[in-house]
Amino acid sequence: MSIVILLSLALMSLALCLAFVRLFRGPSLPDRVVALELFSSILVGIIGVVAIATDVPSLLDVAIVMALMAFMAAIGFARFLERGGPRDD
């Protein structure tokens, strides 16, 4: 594994940790949903880098499914929030 791949994996792991901080602290539910969406984008990147590092192109299918699931989750959370009406959390 080259130094670039290690470095980028480290950067993206740090990004995951920062996103987790927002997921933990986020004052409202929409903030947490945004953090979850960021999670999935970073995971797509990590899967891409791992696919390059291990020379396994099938991992791209995992990335596709990851992006799809994140989109569905965002839409579902938004529907849930709008149906719920005003709230204070």
Binding site: A19, E37, F71, L81, E82
Partner: protein
């Protein structure tokens, strides 16, 4: 040369993702956080998928990588719009330094009714006419 391009794409993509995560931690309210994450994270994933396409250089893999890019580029704005809309409706607080919220005076979050600011008695009673632009 190709190796260099690939490594550059990977590094820049990872840095953009780190910037998105920094933005989501540092920025003050929901809309500014979304502004940081949707664009920077989309660009980061796109650059890394470009690196994957360059690295493998087979038709099937390149097609799938571009499929991922297209899918992310199409769904990220939709998801951001939907979450931002829902966040506005549930009353997430805007940053104290916000200068202008144009929806607030014109929008009723309970009935989802949007005023144009041109409602008058005469306009409400007026019949549609032939010369109106459609």
């Amino acid at each position: 040369m190709i190796e260099l391009l690939k490594e550059g794409f990977i590094l820049v993509g990872a840095i953009f993702m780190l910037l998105a995560a920094l933005g989501i931690v540092r920025l003050p309210d929901l809309l500014t956080r979304m502004h940081a994450t949707t664009k920077a994270a989309t660009l980061g994933a796109t650059l890394i998928m470009l690196a994957v396409a360059i690295h493998f250089a087979q038709v099937a893999v390149v097609a799938r990588a571009f499929g991922v890019i297209l899918f992310i580029m199409m769904t990220a704005p939709v998801a951001a719009h939907v979450i931002g809309r829902a966040g506005y409706f549930v009353g997430s607080k805007l940053w104290s330094g916000t200068l202008k919220d144009e929806l607030r005076p014109n929008y009723d979050p309970l009935t989802h009714e949007l005023k144009s600011g041109r409602e008058t008695e005469a306009n409400a009673r007026r019949e549609p006419q032939e010369t109106d632009p459609s």
